[in-house]
């Protein structure tokens, strides 16, 4: 009996340890986030020239419209969102206290530190690159579009008009350029340097130094520093971000919640086995007792 008791404790300890591995997974990524690259979008400096849109479309062969057509500011009249043929768009937001003050805001994939889309992808077609980008592999994708539902920023778009080889389309963070040590196409074209590319931790320092150097000019909150566990792309705004199109999100990363349940239960198939072992053990001990009783009788 004493041997059985020791075995039982051992098995429960093992099974609880495997259940916890789900949460340690998240911590592994977190420890890397200071080394990843990011982009700081300073909407106070942005002049809304839309050159980033042009550069992005050129880089990814999305549109062959000439540079001149991007001078058209009338597009700001309507609120646009990134779609399958535009990975980034520039919108306008206004100061609620003074509606004459307009600021421009570039929108694209935020490349979260702990991306919900990666977590939601059931085939691993989306992956967080160690350089910071959330990469998409069209060959693995089965087109379930769970990523679209999972993304808190509503970024991934789907090629609905392409019936044969539809893909998920979103900002790639120009990961090939970044791997070569270059900055993304939008960043390198930005005339006013409203976009700054660099190691994420340095960008956070930069953001706080701008608050310090320009008192009153910014709403002193680096959007993306902590939102959903931090994002590679971060924003500085003139007004509270709730007046912009950036969604109000808590600092808690989204994946762990579902992952602890989903991944934990099925991690390496140990928990199910452990459960069956436990049940077996219970049956075994009960069976033993019955046998003993039978023997006694």
């Amino acid at each position: 009996m004493s041997l059985d008791r020791r075995k039982f404790l051992g098995i429960t300890a093992l099974s609880s340890a495997t259940l916890l591995t789900g949460s340690t997974h998240a911590h592994e990524i977190e420890s890397k986030t200071d080394e990843v690259y990011g982009v700081l979008v300073d909407t106070v400096v942005c002049i809304g020239c839309r050159k980033c849109e042009w550069a992005c479309n050129q880089e990814h062969g999305l549109s062959d419209k000439d540079l001149k057509s991007y001078e058209d500011k009338s597009v700001f009249k309507e609120h646009r969102r990134p779609n399958a043929s535009a990975y980034t768009v520039v919108n306008e937001y206004r100061d609620p206290a003074d509606s004459s003050k307009a600021y421009s805001m570039k929108v694209q994939c935020m490349h979260c530190n702990e991306p919900a889309c990666v977590s939601a992808c059931i085939v691993g077609a989306l992956e967080k690159n160690e350089l910071g980008s959330v990469d998409y592999d069209a060959w693995k994708c089965i087109g379930c579009r769970y990523c679209i539902i999972a993304c808190p920023f509503q970024v991934p778009a789907y090629e609905y008009e392409n019936p044969l080889t539809p893909q998920i389309r979103k900002c790639t963070f120009c990961h090939e350029r970044v791997a070569k040590g270059e900055s993304p196409a939008c960043v390198s074209i930005c005339p006013n340097e409203a976009l700054t590319f660099g190691p994420r931790s340095k960008l956070i320092d930069l953001a706080h130094s701008r608050f310090k150097a320009n008192p009153g000019r910014y709403h002193e909150h680096v959007y993306g520093e902590n939102e959903v566990g931090g994002t590679s792309w971060m924003y500085l705004t003139a007004v509270d971000t709730k007046h912009t199109e950036l969604p109000v999100l808590s600092a808690a990363p989204l994946p762990p919640l579902t992952e602890i349940i989903q991944h934990g239960i099925f991690k390496s198939f140990v928990p199910p086995l452990a459960l069956y072992a436990l049940l077996g053990l219970i049956m075994h001990t009960i069976g033993d007792k019955n046998e003993e009783q039978e023997v006694k009788e």
């Binding site: 400096v45 002049i47 809304g48 020239c49 050159k51 540079l67 001149k68 001078e71 500011k73 900055s183 930005c190 005339p191 006013n192 340097e193 700054t196 590319f197 660099g198 340095k202 960008l203 930069l206 130094s209």
Partner: protein, 378 residues
Amino acid sequence: MTYKKLSLLFIAVVMIAISGSVFGVAQNTHNSELDKINCLECHTCPTPNAQDMCLKACPSVLQPEMKAAHTLVEAPDTFLIDELTDLYQPVTFNHKLHADMAQMGGDCGTCHHFSPPGHIPPCSDCHGGEKNPSNLRQPSLKGAYHRQCLSCHREWSHETQCILCHLPTEGKPLSVGFDSTDILGISHPVVTVPDKLVYRTPYESGPVVTLHHNEHIDLFGLRCVDCHKQENCSYCHDMDKETKITKTDEEIHAVCNDCHLEERCDKCHDTVEKPAFSHASTGWALNRYHKGAECRACHPTGKKISKLNRRCSACHSGWNSDNFDHAVTGLRLDEIHIELDCEDCHTDLAYNKAPDCASCHDEGTNPKETPPGEYLRR
């Protein structure tokens, strides 16, 4: 003893290492980190040495922001910014105009945030063509230029279009719908142009000078800069009115005298406000066809308007019986008369008068009584 010596040696080695990394000049002590740095980022000469470090004058820990006073004569009036020419043509920068503006505020230091005495370094001395990854706070040259311009342009004119400064490289220059050499062409909020200005002058026998401003522009086809020659931004945007320079009598009259050469005082000065110009005062009231025409259409010389030959053919030399629609005069000619040459009826080429029918109709016909066609209005 040996312990002390060793520690002294150690301190010396550390000092050398620190000085080497601070100045980055001692070639022998270059470590692998320094090898990655382009010498020309900090030095003006390719081979700096301990004697001649040729360090660029850039803001640093040793030399923080510095703004010395400079006189405007040191700088050219305009220059071409072409270091980064890529998507657009180089920018012609009117330095004088901007310097004038800066004098209302922070002087040269408004833009030249680091200007040590004796020399204003060009932006490219400190701001590199590529963003410096080790100092993300410092904008690259492109960022430095654009931020310098746009921070004010956005605030003052709310215009951030690229084509306000740049012309596109391909094809013809973009038509941006204005003449950038004139005041109204400069990116600027709407300028209210006064219709009439009345000046009270100390001239006793004619204290009132009336300027029908818009009429002057229309009459003579003037551009703002034709009269407003030496005016800079501070003329309107002077924040300190106390120090506004008062003009001498000569300077005040110079604006008018450029055109009104040797004119009598009463041309402008009067005891009452002068009425606006009426063409009827010349003895030739404009008819309905001429009323809408711009003065320049008939008086093309611009500044000096002289009397014109009143004969229609003096201007409308191309008119003949084939291409002139006589109905516009109010008389549609009948089949017989429309075949005639103009001069057949208007014998003396005086088209403003009714013709003398007697040249053909010897019985003395009056065109009013027996018309040569149909009168469209009476």
